[in-house]
């Protein structure tokens, strides 16, 4: 299958006053055409920063290492004006918070049409018409009227639809959606996920879905990457990871997700707190919270290794892992 994005040995580091925070380390993954990749992990595991880095949107104190190849261009370290030829056109991003991600002082149509003017060279009228069509497509009633509205006149769900429309205007090869449903209420969440699925299928767009809710992943994603303390700890097909997790952290995540944990008859959140990136434990970062940890895990960090059938995991433990036996 054709790969649209290939991330190689990527790292994200933030400079602090007299130290550094490694938010992402040694990240590797490929994204195939039309595929949906879910990126899951607890708060602070580096999910957002990894993809903001690819988009060139890190905070000023951030540095990115490694490569993110989109075809034969490396997005990392690219000069901003050159990056601007790809951002919004071939690779687009939707952010966590629809309430603050639209400019409050500009009409919806302005914020949409400018993308087409910039990347497609449309004139204003044509861009506006196309924008209105796209609003209709994402399920906004009376799109022509809404196009003239300001963001504060729309509900959260509507705003997130606007964000989706905006990101898909140029039919990008890659869409990164950073917790696109977290801020919305549950009924709207399901509609929104449907919408993602339909539109990315229609456009052949590859989707990266960042979330900490495995419930969201279930119906939508093909593959998934589990992150812990800035690193990928398990990767593989969604079904494989759901039914047969190989990393205790993946197991723990499954356990703390209500309607998946039902099968295990009880909800069993992972004990303890996510690690501070500045003071990662020695050995495997997950060891203090892991029920399967043994001596080796305290000394050595398990590398991400092939676990067969297109899966990878970073764990020394090879024995069986039963539900219920999580820390």
């Amino acid at each position: 299958m054709k790969q649209v994005l290939s991330v190689q040995n990527m790292s994200v580091t933030f400079a602090l006053h007299n130290s550094e925070v490694h938010a992402v380390r040694e990240m590797n993954f490929d994204l195939a055409e039309g595929e949906t990749l879910a990126v899951v992990g607890e708060s602070g595991s580096g999910k957002s920063q990894a993809f903001l880095a690819i988009m060139g949107l890190l905070a000023r104190n951030g540095r990115t290492g490694g490569r993110a190849m989109m075809g034969d261009v490396n997005l990392i370290g690219m000069a901003t004006d050159q990056l601007d030829r790809y951002r919004g056109k071939d690779i687009a991003m939707i952010f966590q918070d629809p309430m603050t991600s639209l400019n409050p002082s500009l009409k919806i149509k302005t914020q949409l049409s400018e993308v087409l003017v910039k990347h497609r060279g449309f004139d204003k009228a044509k861009a506006t018409n196309t924008a209105i069509e796209m609003l209709e497509r994402v399920g906004i009633p009376e799109p022509a009227k809404r196009a003239n509205a300001y963001p504060h006149q729309l509900s959260g769900g509507m705003r997130q639809r606007v964000m989706i429309a905006m990101a898909l205007l140029c039919q990008p090869k890659i869409l990164i959606a950073d917790e696109p449903t977290t801020a919305l209420d549950v009924t709207v969440q399901a509609q929104m996920l449907d919408l993602f699925k339909t539109l990315t299928d229609d456009f052949g767009t590859s989707l990266v879905l960042i979330t900490h809710d495995l419930g969201v992943v279930a119906g939508v994603a093909d593959r998934m990457m589990v992150m812990y303390g800035g690193r990928a700890v398990e990767k593989g097909g969604v079904d494989d990871l759901f039914y047969d997790p190989r990393h205790p952290y993946t197991l723990g995540l499954l356990h703390s997700t209500p309607h998946i944990a039902k099968r295990a008859a009880r909800l069993d959140p992972i004990q303890g707190l996510p690690p501070s990136l500045e003071h990662l434990p020695k050995g495997c970062s997950f060891n203090p919270r892991c029920a399967f940890a043994f001596d080796r895990c305290l000394i050595e960090r398990p590398p991400l290794t092939d676990a067969g059938s297109g899966r990878e995991k970073a764990c020394f433990y090879e024995g069986p892992m039963a539900y219920g036996k999580v820390a």
Binding site: L57, D84, T100, S101, E114, K118, H119, Y150
Partner: protein
């Protein structure tokens, strides 16, 4: 929008009335009167004068007579400069004062906007540090001191600019007063713009704009300027009022023919009519400015406009 403006105008009426009342009585409370000169006037002359200007009436009657006059657009005679009505004096000095104030306002606002935006875009790099420092100077040194220093340096020592005075058309004489007036205003605007621009550049919606690949210029001009201007615009009204009042002093220092000259002499001479007239006029100007600013604000912020 129009009804909003209309309501604002209505709500200004009590403010005007209150100002007139307070000023009227405070002036009368101050010791001395318009006819206390170096040489005491003969008693019967004084009596006639007082009768002529209604000053022998009970103070409340005087007040109502005055308010009645103002309502008819008559600010009364000047009590010190005979043969002049207050309206006449104001119409001589006001155009000059307004011209001076507005020019300084425009110069200061534009310079402040540009400097503040440049500093914000270069946050924590040398242009920013430079601006933050330079801007402190006119904020710390008061107007009159600055004016005198400028006269001394550029007028006397260097001889680049005239020290003061003004004849129609000699615009070179206005350079120094305008800059002196504009500097503290520009400094305040620059600080405000810098702060709000830095805040806006860190918002999620600017990140969205960057993610769309719009480019720095478009992001600044279309996405960042409008929201960053909001706090600045609400300062512009009061800012212009400071400028116009500051202008009274600066006019005096540079011997310029604005109402500043009349106002200060009038206050010293207890020229009740002229002081009140000038004050009322200023209140009007300031209220009008605030109204304009509010309308501008509504244009910038759709939330205000549509509610």
């Amino acid at each position: 929008m129009i009804s909003y403006a209309f309501r604002r105008v209505l709500s200004a009426i009590p403010i005007v009335f209150l100002t007139i009342t307070v000023c009227f009585f405070i002036l009368r409370l101050a010791p001395g009167g318009p006819f206390d000169g170096e040489r005491a006037l003969p008693v019967n002359v004084l009596k006639n004068l007082r009768a002529h200007y209604n000053l022998d009436q009970p103070i409340l009657t005087q007040f109502f007579l005055y308010v009645g006059g103002v309502l008819r657009g008559d600010f009364g005679p000047s009590m010190v400069m005979e043969d002049f009505t207050v309206s006449r004096l104001l119409s001589i000095g006001l155009p000059f004062t307004l011209m001076l104030g507005f020019t300084a306002f425009i110069v200061g606002t534009i310079a402040g906007l540009v400097a503040g935006a440049l500093a914000a875009v270069n946050q924590n790099r040398w242009p920013d540090y430079l601006l933050v420092f330079v801007v402190l100077i006119p904020l710390i040194i008061p107007n009159f001191l600055m004016a005198n220093l400028a006269q001394l340096i550029f007028g006397v020592y260097l001889g680049w600019l005239p020290v003061g005075g003004y004849r129609a058309g000699s615009y070179i004489n206005l350079v120094m007063p305008i800059l002196i007036l504009a500097m503290p205003h520009g400094a305040r605007v620059a600080r405000l713009v810098r702060g709000s621009m830095i805040e806006v550049l860190g918002t999620n919606y600017i990140r969205t704009a960057r993610s769309k690949g719009l480019g720095a210029a478009l992001i600044l001009t279309r996405h960042a300027i409008k929201p960053a201007l909001l706090p600045v615009v609400s300062y512009l009204g009061p800012g212009l009022s400071y400028l116009l009042t500051g202008s009274l002093v600066v006019e005096q220092i540079f011997a310029l023919p604005g109402i500043g000259k009349y106002f200060i002499t009038a206050a010293l001479n207890r020229d009740y009519g002229l002081v009140l007239g000038t004050t009322i006029l200023y209140v009007f100007i300031i209220l009008a400015l605030n109204l304009i600013v509010d309308v501008l604000y509504a244009w910038l912020d759709p939330k205000v406009r549509l509610n």
